[in-house]
Amino acid sequence: MSFKVQDLYTELNEGDVLLAYKGSITSDLINDVLDALESKLLDFNEHSKIRKKVYNVLVESLQNLYHHIDDIPSDYVDQLDPRFGILLVTKDESHYKISTGNFITVDKIKPLRSKIEKINSLSKEELKGLYKDILVNDKISEKGGGGLGLVDIARKTGNILEYEFKKFDNDSYFFILNVLVSDPNINT
């Protein structure tokens, strides 16, 4: 085993933690997480602009997880919940950070990396064009994902998508995605 999920979880756990979860990513879990985050954002009296952005990005991040989680590597099956994923929402003075992590099979790395790299290379206008192109031309996949999630996240946040693939074994990697939502009052 080349890394421990627990260490990874601890490593991501920096800043003010609003939400931390590791376990099965189910529809009910998504409801609970969204409710919890929404009430926290209201407690903070967060500006509606950033509140909506954080909420939107969390919806897309969680639903990306929900649609794209692959099976847990066989070595881990006894130790982790099925459809295992991790989620962390942290906050510092200028950003909210939404981190998600899930196992993916090795064959998915190349297309995912090239998709993210492409998104990260595009300007705001180009992202808008890509979004509209996918919206009009692509069919919804069997998994229900529209293929729009990452593009939408990049568009709404205006930030690049930070990511990492941690090797677990020859077949499985752990994909970590960090999304930053900047406070518009600080950056503009």
Binding site: N56, Q63, L135, G144, G146, D152
Partner: protein
């Protein structure tokens, strides 16, 4: 033709489709994991309505949140409305967005640039 009235939930919008007065309303949140299932009856209803629409169909979209899975389904709804907006039948889409919600305004403008139906952008207080 029977109207459709669906009460909203934390993940799905309130829907009112009325063939008699030609008012189509989708309001609230649309963030289900699988939105095709939710939107299919709406698209089917519009397909039926297309056969005998009223002179002017008024569409009110007032969403607080919608996810990317819904965005394709909403496009399908708008495509049906585009089909209806022909000949003597007229369609207007009123796209509501909360003040300061530039993302929602921009989403409306995206649809406006794709669909050949007049859009009216309406800012509402939060």
């Amino acid at each position: 033709m029977k109207s459709i009235d669906i009460e909203g939930t934390s993940k799905t919008p309130t829907v009112n489709l009325n063939a008699e007065n030609g008012v189509v309303e989708i309001k609230g949140r649309s963030i289900p994991e699988n939105s095709v299932e939710f939107y299919k009856p709406l698209v089917d209803w519009l397909e039926e309505y297309k056969k005998a629409p009223v002179g002017k169909t008024t569409v009110n979209i007032q969403l607080e949140y919608f996810n990317t899975s819904s965005s394709k389904c909403i496009l399908d709804v708008f495509k049906k409305l585009e089909d209806i907006n022909k000949g003597d039948a007229e369609v207007v889409i009123n796209w509501h967005y909360e003040e300061d919600d530039e993302d929602m305004l921009e989403a409306g403008e995206d649809y406006e640039s794709i669909i050949r139906v007049p859009f009216k952008m309406i800012e509402v207080a939060e």
